[in-house]
């Protein structure tokens, strides 16, 4: 959403006319956007004045009594008790104000941190959800890639309907500086790049990559390439896997 589109939500927000989800998203945005906060403040003032347009009506005289009677049963929250030394009350108020001010600032900073970390978590979870959906999709195909030499191995799962590939790699040391690994799909003997990747220091990776639409392939393979990847493989693949298609 562009900034401009966010600002457009200020008017319905000030009127309380956003649907629940939209409101929640806008409030998250408000935490970070002073422009929208100012716009909301200004439009809220407008909204509040709309009360004045209610058709005039005279409340029954007894209502005043009722308001006062109900109030007399409770004291305002934190109201000062009469009879205490005024300076003590003042000092207590000052301390309270300082404390509240500090607590407020801390609370606010905490809230902002929470909002940011929630957003980050949401992205991570969305990525995971997508990955799991690919793994579990009914049309998923898989290929186990065995090492042509020694230790490393990989498993590739793809979903033609979701146009996604999930690759899991084990025991493959990270590519040297300036180099990267590249995953290929071999379609009718021709390599098509799926994406580049690198492993973590423990030699592992689980990642999702896009799969070209309608790509049919017989083999998947991994090569090591210069950083950024190559249009065509520059070496013989060291991991190769034959496709075992889904039923």
């Amino acid at each position: 959403m562009t900034d401009h589109q966010w600002t457009e939500l200020a008017a319905p927000y000030a009127l309380g006319a956003l649907d629940r989800e939209e409101r929640a998203r806008f409030e998250t945005h408000l935490a970070d956007c002073a422009v929208c906060r100012a716009e909301v403040r200004s439009l809220r003032e407008v909204a509040v004045l709309l009360a004045e347009s209610a058709p005039a009506a005279t409340p029954p005289a007894a209502l005043r009594e009722r308001v006062l009677r109900e109030a007399s049963r409770v004291r305002p929250i934190g109201a000062r008790r009469p009879g205490r030394a005024p300076w003590l009350a003042a000092a207590a108020c000052l301390l309270l104000a300082l404390g509240l001010g500090y607590a407020y600032l801390r609370e606010r900073a905490e809230q902002e941190r929470t909002v940011r970390s929630l957003a980050a978590s949401r992205d991570t979870i969305a990525a995971r959800d997508s990955l799991v959906a690919t793994l579990l999709s009914p049309d998923a195909g898989t290929a186990a890639l065995a090492a042509t030499g020694q230790a490393p191995s990989a498993r590739v799962t793809w979903s033609p309907s979701r146009h996604r590939v999930v690759m899991a790699v084990f025991r493959l040391p990270p590519a040297p500086v300036g180099r990267t690994y590249q995953l290929w799909a071999i379609a009718k003997g021709k390599p098509v790049s799926i994406g580049i990747f690198n492993t973590s220091p423990d030699g592992r990776l689980v990642a999702e990559m896009p799969l070209p639409v309608d790509l049919k392939f017989e083999l998947t393979a991994v090569t090591e390439e210069p950083a950024g990847g190559s249009p065509q493989p520059t070496m013989q693949p060291f991991l190769v896997g034959k496709v075992s298609p889904a039923d």
Binding site: S42, T58, A71
Partner: protein, 214 residues
């Protein structure tokens, strides 16, 4: 509707010293925060009528409106120590609390509000029928009435569809998509109207707005 408004019997505001004395609302709230019940009485004398009219416009039944007003003033009384002048006027604070309580009550009862009812009737006269001129009033709160008059006039200056959208949101408590369904209009149209209407209102109500110049 219109009959109600023009024939309303405007009683004189109770002759409370605090009303006359011109003590600012904010000072009354401070005294309430100190537990002074007379200050609450004074606040009621100033704004009780507005709160009642607002509540009645939303809940429709006099008895329900009284309950809403008593609740709202109760909340204002209990939370007087938390009132933050930086966030708006006392009247605005009270109006917000009253509206929220009224809409809660309407929802709890599963009842439609007056604004929604009127929209359903597609009243060609429009929803915001002018309240009458300040001269009609036997009321001393001239400033309040000027505000009322300006708000009413500003609403009257909106196009009929714009006004309807605003009233359904404010008095009906409907969301944009609920308004679209109620009026059987495309959601995009409702959104555009609401924004345009608020923009127009902000312009015409500028004399009453303190901080919001943008």
């Amino acid at each position: 509707m219109r009959k109600n408004r023009t024939d309303a019997n405007f009683e004189a505001v109770p002759d409370d010293q605090q009303v006359k004395a011109g003590v600012p609302d904010r000072a009354l709230v401070e005294r309430m925060a100190a537990g002074e019940e007379r200050a609450l009485g004074a606040l009621y004398d100033r704004h009780g009528r507005m709160a009642y009219a607002l509540a009645l416009a939303i809940v429709r039944e006099g008895a329900d409106a009284e309950e809403v007003v008593a609740d709202a003033f109760g909340q204002v009384w209990r939370s007087a120590t938390q009132y933050d002048a930086g966030r708006g006027s006392v009247a605005g604070w009270l109006a917000t609390i009253t509206r929220t309580r009224a809409l809660d009550l309407v929802r709890a009862r599963g009842r439609r509000t007056r604004a929604v009812e009127r929209a359903a009737q597609a009243d060609p006269d429009g929803l915001a029928t002018p309240l009458g001129t300040p001269a009609d009033r036997a009321d001393r709160q001239i400033e309040r009435h000027e505000a009322q008059h300006l708000v009413t006039r500003s609403l009257a200056e909106l196009t009929e569809p714009q006004r309807r959208v605003i009233e359904l949101a404010y008095f009906g408590g409907l969301s944009q998509s609920e308004i679209a369904a109620e009026l059987q209009e495309p959601l995009g149209t409702v959104k555009t109207r609401m924004r345009a209407a608020m923009e127009k209102l902000r312009g015409s109500l500028a004399p009453l707005l303190v901080g919001g110049s943008s």
